[in-house]
């Protein structure tokens, strides 16, 4: 029972800490953030496994690590020098279509690693690459040569207007008022649209809408009556 309660408490603590570290933590891991994440997962498991260890021995290091991570990342925002000290700098490995072998040696990045990364980005010919940068997160970002780039509307000089993507306004029979407001639609518009489609909100599994009032509805599938399903 104690193990269960300890596990729940530490789980809640780790969730709170991850929220405190912010969304950046989940999306892209900087070297310092990766270290903190590994450390937290190890520290949190100790008091769960060992009952003789006071829970405070897990809680305090986690809070201190997260605290310092938040402080360091805030200071890094204001100081470029600290930012490069903690996270490193992005390094260009292909410049003007030419592979920088020194930069690759420094990064201990083999040509196989580079080719693999390019292939993962659907680039099979290294000659198509104008610039390639290894970011501080270890991700490689590539700018293709003009001749190899995907044609865009801008290149073809096609006119069009920028549109916001549709948002979910009803999910699993429940209206999401914040989404409705974010795309400038009103509950009255929603009620009218549902009436027009002869549906109530509880009949809808998914409904998306955009700023122009264009919508898309996926009706809720009725639960099969017992004994009739084949």
């Amino acid at each position: 029972m104690i193990v269960l309660i300890r596990a729940i408490l530490l789980y809640l603590l780790v969730i709170c800490c991850m929220r405190l570290m912010g969304k950046r933590q989940l999306g892209e891991l900087q070297p310092s953030e990766l270290v903190i994440t590994i450390l937290i997962s190890n520290i949190a498991s100790l008091p769960i496994e060992d009952n003789s260890l006071p829970m405070i021995m897990g809680v305090v290091p986690i809070l201190v690590l997260v605290g310092f991570e938040v402080i360091i990342s805030t200071l890094s925002l204001h100081s470029k020098r600290l930012r490069s000290l903690v996270s490193g700098k992005p390094i260009v490995v292909i410049r003007d279509g030419k592979v920088d072998q020194n930069a690759m040696k420094k990064l201990r990045f083999s040509i196989d690693d580079l080719m693999e990364t390019l292939r993962a980005k659907s680039i099979f010919n290294i000659q198509d690459v104008q610039y390639a940068v290894v970011e501080t997160t270890g991700q490689v970002n590539v700018l293709q040569k003009h001749s190899a780039q995907t044609v865009t509307a801008g290149m073809l000089d096609l006119k069009g207007k920028d549109e916001d993507p549709p948002v979910v306004v009803i999910s699993d029979g429940r209206i999401i008022s914040s989404s409705l407001a974010s795309c400038g639609l009103t509950p009255a518009w929603l009620a009218a649209t549902l009436r027009e489609n002869r549906k109530s909100e509880t009949d809808i599994f998914l409904m998306t809408a955009d700023r122009n009032g264009k919508y898309f509805i996926v009706p809720m599938e009725k639960a099969p009556v017992k004994g009739t399903q084949k």
């Binding site: 405190l20 260890l53 006071p54 305090v60 809070l63 201190v64 605290g67």
Partner: protein, 125 residues
């Protein structure tokens, strides 16, 4: 910015409670060590009084042990409890020499509990 404020508050609370608990532990272990010294001297003159004092000390220790266990490993606390039990048993049996040795060990144990928590280079490394 809100995050930084929360984090600073958490860190201040942690540092404050760590310093507070260390001071309290220092005072308490000193107090227990002094009481054990007195019991050791009393045992030579009045065995019954020494036994009563030692049992009172044990009761007090058992009450505080749970609280100390919140921020210290349980192992040294268990050693201290065992030493106190053994000291009482030796005094009851009238084995004074062994009792005096065990009391010395108990004093060392209680002082060691505090010394292991002091943030000095030895303990940190």
């Amino acid at each position: 910015m809100k995050r930084v404020v929360i984090v600073c508050i958490i860190l201040i609370v942690i540092i404050g409670s760590a310093a507070g608990s260390l001071l309290w532990l220092g005072n308490y272990t000193d107090q227990v060590a002094q009481r054990l010294e007195t019991i050791s001297q009393t045992a030579e003159e009045d065995r019954q009084k020494a036994l009563e004092d030692l049992e009172n000390l044990q009761k007090d220790w058992h009450q505080k042990e749970h609280w100390i266990g919140v921020f210290i490993h349980e192992d040294p606390l268990e050693v201290m409890s065992d030493r106190l039990n053994e000291s009482i048993a030796l005094l009851k049996q009238g084995l004074y020499d062994e009792f005096q040795i065990r009391i010395r060990q108990t004093i060392f144990t209680i002082r060691n509990i505090y010394h292991q928590e002091v943030p000095n280079i030895e303990n940190i490394l």
